[in-house]
Subunit: 296 residues, 2 copies
């Protein structure tokens, strides 16, 4: 049994008022989010999911073939940021995760070529190393909305919290609070595709730094171990950055090979506190701009 | 009906001598290639494939979920080269396409971590912009073999030609001659996964230059139009390079939006002949080195 089936079931059964206290506003142009799903409910769904995945696909990078899920990874060589375009090829609704200002036109052109309707330009957190493209994308693609975690303190059309679902067509991203790099860091999980977008919380064989903004190595460690490493091993993880030419990883790989997060908490904190990294060169420009969606 | 089923069928039916004049040498350590499949046979297989794909998955980037196919894209920021690790998660056999010398250790470490046995370090062609990592990988991973197209004129353990199949576990790459950027350019097609590795023949919204080595715009145009654009629209294409942060495309997208190859031949030739590109800065170092697998 897949997430898709569970969701489709309750959607079709009672389109107006759904069981479990869920409410969908309906219509293509409205904001398809389901706030305030209780954690118990999510736990039940997760248990169903994990116990029914059958033979796990380990360490692979992939999407559900034959489904209508669209996935495209994009890259900014200056800040080494990954941007992700996700879409439903049937309804043509799409979302863009962590767009970069300088590539907003590239991204908007691609979305247009592919015939997608961008619903949300989302951030995993308030970045300090590049200016977000969400504001510019809103001006390039009228009707699209900017989305960020409420705890980020940044301006956006929509502020989301742990447990919110961001829907595009038949697909959903589950916003999962993973503070530590910043207070407002969210990991977006798409259970239907066994993938998650970890922002700067978990990088490939690394993690985001914790020495500025509201950084806390203890919080980051707890976030990774309770929210990401608890996902099935075969889930593919897509980070916001990579500096060594890597594009993806899996839960299983990071649980085994992450040089920092496989250590005990005390050792991890010591590693993070003695990194002696240079002051982030873009932070004084990027953070004020990102507080207002990159100004546009 | 998928390629996998067709192949599995004849493999299981007559493991020694197969129908259609095919021969598989058998065993994990031997070289699983099937040379000299006639073009007519391939046409039959392709027709079966295309007519049986059912509802095509358009413009998506993905692998067969639930299968044992492993895919990982890797990047070299200096030459903007993409390297691809493909594997069979059941048999653990793997191949690496277009490795870069400076990342041979990164790639070998990843292959080891993932528990793969590298059979072949392959090139799509003799590169002029970076030194291949195939030679170094052979020394890092004893038992692996270097592979390149016979027409490249480069040294390698195995020289392949149009129609050859490179097998790893249950999967196959069909070597398809696509000259034009160089004489020896091969596109590797994995019909089972609806993906192809186009080298420098077709880039995302572009193509490789044709003004050095044995470059010929007429040949490149013919190669793309007869060997790549004839694949189903939903096939995902992975190039050897991208310079704008793009990671993949599809046959459908390039047929519609490639700014060069959608033009008539005469116009395409004119475009390629008037690009006025600078002399490739690495060519005098890379080509002699790549003639001998990057020397190792």
């Amino acid at each position: 049994m897949k997430m898709y089936r569970i969701r489709a079931g309750f959607r079709e059964g009672q389109p107006g008022q759904l069981p479990w206290g869920l409410h969908i506003s309906g219509g293509h142009k409205s904001f398809h989010m389901i706030p305030k799903i209780s954690l118990n409910t999510l736990k039940i769904v997760e248990t169903l999911l994990v116990s029914n995945t059958g033979k796990a696909r380990c360490m692979s990078t992939g999407m559900q073939k034959g489904s209508d899920f669209f996935f495209r990874q994009l890259f900014d060589t200056v800040s080494s940021t990954y941007t992700y375009l996700l879409g439903d090829m049937k309804t043509r609704e799409a979302v863009l995760i962590d767009p970069v200002l300088e590539h907003a036109e590239r991204d908007a052109a691609l979305i247009k070529e592919l015939g997608f309707k961008l619903l949300y330009a989302m951030n995993t957190h308030m970045h300090a190393d590049h200016i977000t493209g969400t504001g510019k994308l809103k001006s390039l693609i009228p009707g699209s909305k900017s989305v960020i975690g409420k705890s980020s303190g940044a301006k956006a059309d929509l502020h989301i919290v742990d447990g919110d679902l961001v829907c595009f067509g038949s697909y959903q991203l589950l916003a999962t609070a993973t503070p530590g790099h910043t207070n407002g860091c969210l990991t977006y999980i798409c259970h239907d595709q066994s993938i998650a977008f970890t922002g700067d919380t978990l990088l490939i064989r690394g993690c985001g730094r914790t020495d500025f903004q509201e950084g806390s190595p203890e919080s980051l460690y707890k976030s990774v171990h309770t929210k990401i490493f608890t996902l099935p091993d075969h889930y593919t993880l897509y980070p916001a950055h990579d500096y060594k030419g890597q594009t993806a990883t899996t839960v299983g790989e990071e649980k085994k090979y992450n040089p920092r997060l496989t250590k005990p908490l005390k050792e991890f904190v010591h590693i993070m506190e003695t990194l002696n990294l240079p002051y982030p060169k873009m932070i004084d420009k990027a953070v004020p701009a990102n507080r207002v969606c990159g100004i546009y």
